[in-house]
Amino acid sequence: MLRYLIPLVIFVVLAVFLAIGLTRDPHELKSVLINKPAPTFRVPQLKASDKTISNEDMRGKVWLLNVWASWCVACREEHPYLIEYAKSGVVPIYGLNYKDRREDALATLDELGDPYTASAVDLDGRVGIDFGVYGAPETYVIDQGGTIRFKYVGPMMPDVWKEKILPVVQELNRGTAK
């Protein structure tokens, strides 16, 4: 009897492992920066190019950093939703314009609208390296003390916003109310 059971057990174990493997997206990497202070940057702003912007400017509030670019196709997918999220006023969204030409970036915002309170310009991708960016769009939730609390890779569609981003933001905002 055992002789017939062993291959069956091996098959079941293999099948379970492979089934788990199928549900996991190899492109989704866990960020090592979660619960670590956001890397410091001070770079020019996209619209007001004579002004700089730094993560220090956002201290004391919960904010989102959204990595985007005009060349990034998936960013276009999330763009109309970003405008909605920004309009809802729940949390300010700051952009990190990643390896983009200024004129391309500005043209994209003119065409699709600008959801960002401000966009930081990361022309050579150096800020991106500090944040561990490996593919736009990426969105970071940063708390009042400047700590990264959550990261989402990929277009932030309404289901992601409702189920993943909003709960984190609300939890963090509750923290300040206390």
Partner: protein, 161 residues
Amino acid sequence: MTRLRLLPILLIFLLAPVIKAQVQEEEVPSDDPVIEQRLQNLSKELRCLQCQNQTLADSPAGLAADLRREIRIQMKAGKSDKEIIAFLTQRYGDFILYKPRVTYTTYLLWFGPFILLLGGLYLLFHYIKQRRDLITEKPLSADEHRRAEELLASLPGKETT
């Protein structure tokens, strides 16, 4: 039919002016051959996070070029390979290492094949031993002896008839 097959290619050419490109600085190799050699060796151990199955040395992706540039800058600043790997893993995690680190989460990955090998060897020896135990030389009984002798004796007789 063949014309239809060309359609996607044609479309790409038509759309080309619309597609915006990523700003990519041209990659400038360092004038120091030692740094280039070190970069070559180090980037073979690092993963390109965009393509995932390529090393940083082989990858043409924009991010890979940026990381190579960053590594060159750090090498020029006198950072050791270890410090550079620490810099990268602090930002991208252990996944950037093409050769996984030996930690408790990777024990199965590193030692699993050896455990399977040992298990297989055990089963093989067990099986061989079992087979060998099945073959036992039993001495012939008196009756069997007699029958064997009869058979042997009958053989040459058959040949003559």
